[in-house]
Symmetry: C2
Subunit: 393 residues, 2 copies
C-alpha cells in the first residue's frame, strides 16, 4: 500500500517509515523539521543523537534496499500539500505532523495560537487534499487519550449510546481536554468526523496513550536509523524525563501527588497498532476511534518501576515530587476502553520492565548529552501563564 | 458597565451598541469591516443601505449624546487586541467578531481555513487578553444552535448529567456541527470552557438561533443608525432570503424538502437577551450556556408566514423548493431547551407576524437595491465542494 507519513522526522514517524517499508508498503514522508526546532527552542536536544534527514535517507536506503520518498515542507502550505498528494497518491496517510506538547502550547498566546493553527489547519488542508485528490485514501489520524480528560466516568472508544430523556442516539463521547494542545486534538477530531460524515472520507482516529521506548521489533543496527528521544519539559513525557533523570543521577520528579494515571504502550506496540490500523481500513465514509494503549499506571508507579529496573543497572534515583505546574486532576478515575485494536489482532507485548531496561541502557550511552541539558528537564511553564521553576514538595 | 462589542459594524453589533448605550452602559466597539468585504465578495450588498463607520459614529453621538469608542482592527492581531483591552478595560465583552456563514466556510479549503483561523484564533487571543489584562471581565460569546446539529434527542443548554455504566458526571452535551463555520463555534466552545476551568475566566456562551428583523425597541429614526440586512446565499439566512425574494417577485426557495427546523428570535429579543446576559454575569470561573431562541419553525412554515403577511402588503410570492446544496438532515427532531434566559427575566415578544411585516415594509423601500443583486440570493455553494446553481425541484 502507498502510505504517506506526515511528521516522518519525528519520534513515531521515523521508526514507522522503516517498519512499514519492511512490511512491504511503499512509504513517503513529509516533514519540515519543526520538532528539531521546537526542542531547540526549549534549550534541549534528543538524548539519542539523530542525524540530518539527508543522512537518514541514505541509511534508510542502505538498510531496507528501498528509497523513502521525502517531501520537505509545511502541512499548512496548501500548494505544497496538494503537490505532494498529486505526486504520491497515498492510499493511507498516517498523520503525525502536529505539535505534540501540552506545556509548549501553554507558554503564552503566541504558542497557543501557533499550536492550534498548525495542528487544526494542517489537518483541514489534509482533509481537502484527500477529498479532491485521493478520496478513497484512509486517514489514520493521531489524537490523544488526553482529549477525554479525566471525567469521573468510564471512557468508551470515541462513541457511545447516549440515553437522554427516554431517547437514545449514538453520539461522540464528550471531551474535556486540559491544554491548548489537547484542545487542538479535540478540534481535529470534530473536523475529521465531519469530513467523514459529509464527504465520505474514511478515517481511523487514534486516541493514543503515552508511547515510550527506544526500540522496535525490526529496527536495524545502523545508528543513523535510531529515533529521537526527548526529555525536556515540553517534548519529554514523564516517563522519558524520569529515565533521563535516573541516568544522570537526579531525583525523578512526579508532579504534585504523583497519582495521575495514564495509559502507556511501548514504541514497538505503537508501530504494530498503527500498522494494524493501516492494513485494516474502515469503510468509505466511516469514522472510527481506537483508544490505543496497553496498560494504565500512575506516575509514581512508573517512577518506582524505573527505580527498580535502574538498580539492576547501577542507578539508584530518588523520587521527589515537585509542585504541579499544570492544572489537572491528580486523584481521579481512569478506566478507558481499549478493545478495538485487540479485536483487530493486536497482541500487547506486556514487558514494561524489559522496555525500561533497554531504554535506560540506550540512554546511559548518552549520559553526557543528557547531563549537558539537565536544566531542560525541570518544568517552569505553568498553566496559569507564569514562568517559575517548580519546587520540591 | 464598560462593554466592548467585537464586530460592532455587524448586524447585531451595531444595534447592540445603541441599545446598551441607551441602557446606560459605556460602550466601545472593534471591527475591521470584514463583513462588508465578505458580502461584497458574494457580489451582494446590504438590502438596507448602511453608511461608513465614520458616519455611523457621528450619527451615534448626535442621537445618543454619547460617543462610541471605536477601535479599527483585526481580532487576530495580538498587539492591536492587547492595546484595545488596556485602553478600554472592559467589564464585559460581547464577542460578535466572527465570520458567521456556513456556506462561506464551505466554498473551498481557503475559506474553510480562513473561517476557522479567524474565528478560533480571534477568540483565543481574546481569552489571553482577558486573562492578562481584565481577568474579572465577563466574556459573552456568540455560539450558535447549529453547534448541536440535529441529533435524534432533546438538546439541553450546554451541559447535562451523563450517566454511563452506572456512574454520573456533569458533562458537555456532545456537539454535531454540519459546516466548517459551525465547527469553528464548537472549537470556540471547547476553548472558552477550558479557559473558565483553568484560568477562572467567566463566560456566557450563547447558542443563538436565527435572528431576524430590521428593528429594535429603542432604535432612533436616523437612517444612519439602521443595521445591515443581508440576503445573499452566504450571509442571508433563509428568512432574509425569503423576504427579499418576496419583495422582488421571485419564488421563495426552501432547500430540499423544506422541513428543516430551527429556533428563531427577533432582533429586538436578541438585544434584550444579550443585555440580560451582560447585566447578570456568571460567577468568576463559571462557564454557562444559554440556548437563545424564542420559537421553533420549519423553513416552509416560515415561507408560508411570509406569504401570508406579504399578501397584506400586496406581495404574493410562490414557494418553490430547490435542490439542497447542503449536507443536512431535512427531516429531524428539534426540541432544544431554552429556559435559562426566561429564568433571568426574558419576556419573548412573540409577534413574528408583526416583525415580518415591518421587515417587508423596510425592504420594499429598497426593492431596487435588492433586485440589482438578485443573482446573489440563489445558492451555488455546495457542501461537496462543487459550485453549481441549485435547480427548482
Amino acid at each position: 500500500m502507498r502510505v504517506l507519513i506526515t511528521g516522518v522526522d519525528g519520534y513515531l514517524g521515523w521508526p514507522l517509515a522503516q517498519h512499514l517499508t519492511r512490511a512491504g508498503h511503499e512509504v513517503a514522508g513529509i516533514d519540515d523539521y519543526s520538532r528539531r526546532r521546537w526542542v531547540g527552542e526549549m534549550g534541549s536536544q534528543s538524548a539519542i543523537p539523530i542525524v540530518p534527514m539527508a543522512d537518514r535517507l541514505i541509511a534508510f536506503r542502505e538498510e531496507t534496499g528501498k528509497s523513502l520518498r521525502f517531501f520537505k515542507g509545511d502541512l499548512c502550505d496548501r500548494s505544497f500539500v496538494v503537490n505532494a498528494y498529486k505526486s504520491f497518491k497515498p492510499e493511507a496517510i498516517v498523520y503525525l505532523g502536529e505539535m505534540p506538547s501540552a506545556p509548549y502550547s501553554m507558554i503564552d498566546a503566541e504558542h497557543a495560537v501557533y499550536t492550534q493553527t498548525n495542528n487544526v489547519m494542517g489537518t483541514l488542508e489534509t482533509l481537502y487534499a484527500i477529498r479532491d485528490i485521493v478520496p478513497d485514501c484512509h486517514l489514520v489520524k493521531l489524537g490523544t487519550m488526553g482529549e477525554y480528560g479525566t471525567p469521573d466516568l468510564d471512557i468508551p472508544e470515541g462513541f457511545f449510546d447516549l440515553e437522554f430523556r427516554g431517547r437514545t442516539a449514538r453520539m461522540m463521547f464528550p471531551r474535556k481536554a486540559g491544554s491548548w494542545y489537547h484542545q487542538s486534538k479535540v478540534h481535529d477530531t470534530n473536523n475529521v468526523e465531519m469530513a467523514c460524515r459529509i464527504w465520505g472520507t474514511r478515517s481511523t482516529d487514534i486516541m493514543q496513550g503515552v508511547v515510550y521506548g527506544t526500540r522496535w521489533d525490526d529496527m536495524g543496527s545502523d545508528t543513523r536509523l535510531r529515533t529521537r528521544f526527548d526529555f525536556d519539559q515540553c517534548f519529554g513525557t514523564a516517563i522519558n524525563r524520569f529515565c533521563c533523570q535516573a541516568v544522570i543521577g537526579l531525583p525523578m520528579t512526579p508532579f504534585g501527588k504523583g497519582t495521575q494515571k495514564r495509559g502507556f504502550l511501548p514504541l514497538r506496540d505503537s508501530m504494530a497498532c498503527l500498522t494494524l490500523a493501516i492494513e485494516n481500513p474502515p469503510e468509505q465514509g466511516e469514522y472510527r476511534t481506537f483508544n490505543q494503549f496497553e496498560e494504565v499506571y500512575n506516575v509514581t508507579d512508573l517512577a518506582e518501576k524505573i527505580q527498580k529496573v535502574g538498580k539492576t543497572l547501577g542507578l539508584n534515583p530518588e523520587i521527589r515530587c515537585i509542585d504541579n505546574p499544570r492544572f489537572e486532576d491528580e486523584v481521579h478515575r481512569y478506566n478507558p476502553d481499549h478493545q478495538a485494536l485487540l479485536d483487530l489482532g493486536y497482541k500487547p507485548t506486556r514487558d514494561m520492565d524489559g522496555e525500561l531496561k533497554a531504554m535506560l541502557q540506550d540512554l546511559i550511552e548518552h549520559k553526557e548529552r543528557i547531563a549537558s541539558r539537565e536544566d531542560a528537564v525541570f518544568p517552569d511553564i505553568r498553566w496559569d501563564g507564569s514562568r517559575s521553576r517548580s519546587e520540591y514538595l
